[in-house]
Subunit: 388 residues, 2 copies
């Protein structure tokens, strides 16, 4: 087990109606708030009006910046940074899913920084400061509500890059599962694939002596696999929605990865898909992860046997580990398919004509991942397996 | 699932040699530190000297208060409060296990409080403030290093009472598994029983729709059951010690109980044993918990079947749930026995002549627990099952 530091200061307030508390929570961090959001959904659902009423009741002044797109764009982040500076805003409130939160995080670290915010994502600077950030979560998926990470897309070259800094953890996050009742099945499923992938990225490690957190990772996966089909079949089932929403946070609040060397190759491989084709991140992960597993399992068959047996209850073939492993990967694909996700590139209408270009971009900054470090040709082979 | 708030600010620094960082961490909270500890073990092992050197190097002035006993006493807490006030101490550093940390927590909330610190434990006051508190953990067991709770024994009547307040969470906790190499097998086992019980208290709930955290609780139990015998058989196995140490924190950092109504009857029932007979808390729990389970399982057989099947892999008898349940409880007893713990009162040399008195004291403030609220006669029956 590796040495580690676990420090997660995000206060999670979870349950029915918790968005009504946003004014009280936000008022602890200032008087002037940037209300950052995506499109019209939060307007139509009445959430925006409820949030604004709570903020005003707590005496906060609201400045708005909407228009965050999936795979949030650097240009809007820069616009937000200027707006926050010009208006003297004290804190940022993200109302939305992972894209909105990530955009808000980038604004929050960009404001006190003298240089260009892309420096952080390009690996040229470390963020030491951040404006305080609060969240009203509407989509359980990215886990960004209590993570120290953000992913931003630079339209200049469609570069999608992640950045992690401890100062980016939100101060508070309000999670009301009722807000997710109206999520379409496909978007729910994409969120489920995202949280599943967050656990898998931590699970596949070469680190020995991580038996306790192996168990936790496997349990979190089983919990998601158990609850997701229910949340999709009965979108207004509070219990199923609540379990999925909490799972999304736990999957990415760092607890499950402590002491482990995490991988994250599949996220890098997926980023090229969503950067070029605007594929939903979760759908891209459902395509990439099984392919990645098929490519790397020979590196540590025992871990893949354990995955198959413990996560999917595969009947172990003690004389043929490979059969057990492949059955485990098949079960993962079947789970993704069952909740309506693609598991091959062509099922997401992604053509195979730019695989080489994507593999080159994905590895432009060096090999991807740590379980098996992947060079360009490895990534290309994985794209091809995803196309098979 | 219940509404909940999860807010755990404790920074965990985990790994080999992390106690050397104590000065750097402590210096963030002041210049004058109360070094609070138990007996001579930390002197003999050289830990105290290492901690002092690190504190001095960071420019901190050290005032000492040793002598914390298992089941920490109110009289020493009061002495600590006076000492801290007199010396103008800025922060408290607990070097030890749960008893030392709990004693330090009580001092930390007692200092800024005008009344008597026992008011908190007697339910007559709520702590709103606390001195900052740091921890160097030497015994994985109580989870007190990142919990908001403390248990103190009032020698006037040998009342052992717990108290929880969010302000009691330590600011930082340094966990080096190497410090636990020298723990005797029995003490290691008692710690294991304590963390096991912390999970069981959360697991046995009437709350529906907690499938995700059920899985996490079961996984944490399996992880402990898997690693504990190894830590006892090979006390200097870093991996086993590290898994057990991290498990002790996760078992009680609140994460596993979120959205659930927790029970805690068994802790109340056990407290009478250790208050009167000074039984090690973990040994008392190993005796009480299986007896509690035998007494209450009919209230929700499905949950006990799930426990047996998922935690111990009991082969389910679909036609006879009770057989499955009792086999699960037997497996728990067998696990405790295997690591060298008593599972009956007489195995811990506890006579049966004061059971009625203990049952009366345990329920003096009202029924115990929430899974099945227990009156005096119920608690007596459980003591008798523990004596069977």
């Amino acid at each position: 087990m590796q040495n580690f530091t676990f420090s997660n200061i995000t206060k999670i307030v979870f349950g029915r109606g918790v968005e009504e508390r946003v004014g009280r929570e936000a008022a602890q961090y200032g008087r002037k708030v940037l209300l950052h959001y995506g499109g019209g959904h939060i307007v139509r659902s009445g959430l925006k009006a409820r949030v604004e009423a709570s903020l005003r009741e707590a005496g906060l002044e609201i400045i708005e910046l909407g228009g965050v797109q999936p795979n949030p764009r650097l240009s809007l982040v820069r616009e937000g940074i200027e707006l926050v500076r010009r208006e003297g805003i004290d804190l940022i409130l993200a109302v939305g899913g992972g894209s909105v939160i990530d955009s808000a995080k980038a604004i929050a670290i960009g404001v006190p920084y003298d240089g260009d915010v892309w420096d952080f994502f390009a690996g040229r600077a470390q963020a030491e400061e951040s404006l305080p950030l609060g969240v009203v979560l509407t989509i359980p998926a990215a886990g960004s509500e209590s993570s120290p990470s953000a992913v931003i897309t630079n339209e200049d070259g469609w570069l999608k890059r992640g950045y992690t800094a401890i100062v980016m953890r939100p101060k508070f996050a309000l999670l009301n599962p009722e807000l997710t009742f109206s999520l379409p099945a496909y978007q729910t499923a994409c969120g489920v694939a995202d949280m599943t992938a967050h656990i898998l990225e931590r699970y596949f490690t070469n680190e020995p002596d991580v038996g306790f957190s192996d168990q936790l990772c496997e349990a979190a996966l089983r919990g998601i696999i158990q609850e997701a089909p229910r949340a999709i079949a009965e979108p207004e089932d509070y219990g199923a929605r609540a379990n999925i929403m909490w799972a999304g946070t736990v999957a990415h609040n760092d607890l499950l990865g402590m002491g482990r060397i995490e991988d994250w190759a599949s996220h890098g491989i997926e980023h090229e898909l969503s950067a070029i084709y605007d594929t939903a991140h979760g759908a891209g992960l459902a395509i990439v992860f099984p392919a990645w597993m098929k490519y790397v399992y020979k590196h540590n068959p025992a871990r893949f046997v354990q995955f198959a047996v413990r996560v999917f209850g595969v009947e172990q073939d003690f004389f043929n580990p490979e059969r057990t492993i492949l059955e485990g990967i098949r079960c993962l694909e079947e789970f993704f398919r069952r909740i309506g996700l693609p598991v091959r590139l062509q099922e997401a209408d992604i053509p195979a004509d730019r695989l080489e270009e994507m593999a080159a971009k994905a590895t432009a900054d060096g090999p991807l991942g740590s379980f098996v470090p992947l060079e360009k040709d490895d990534v290309l082979a994985i794209y091809q397996l995803a196309n098979a």
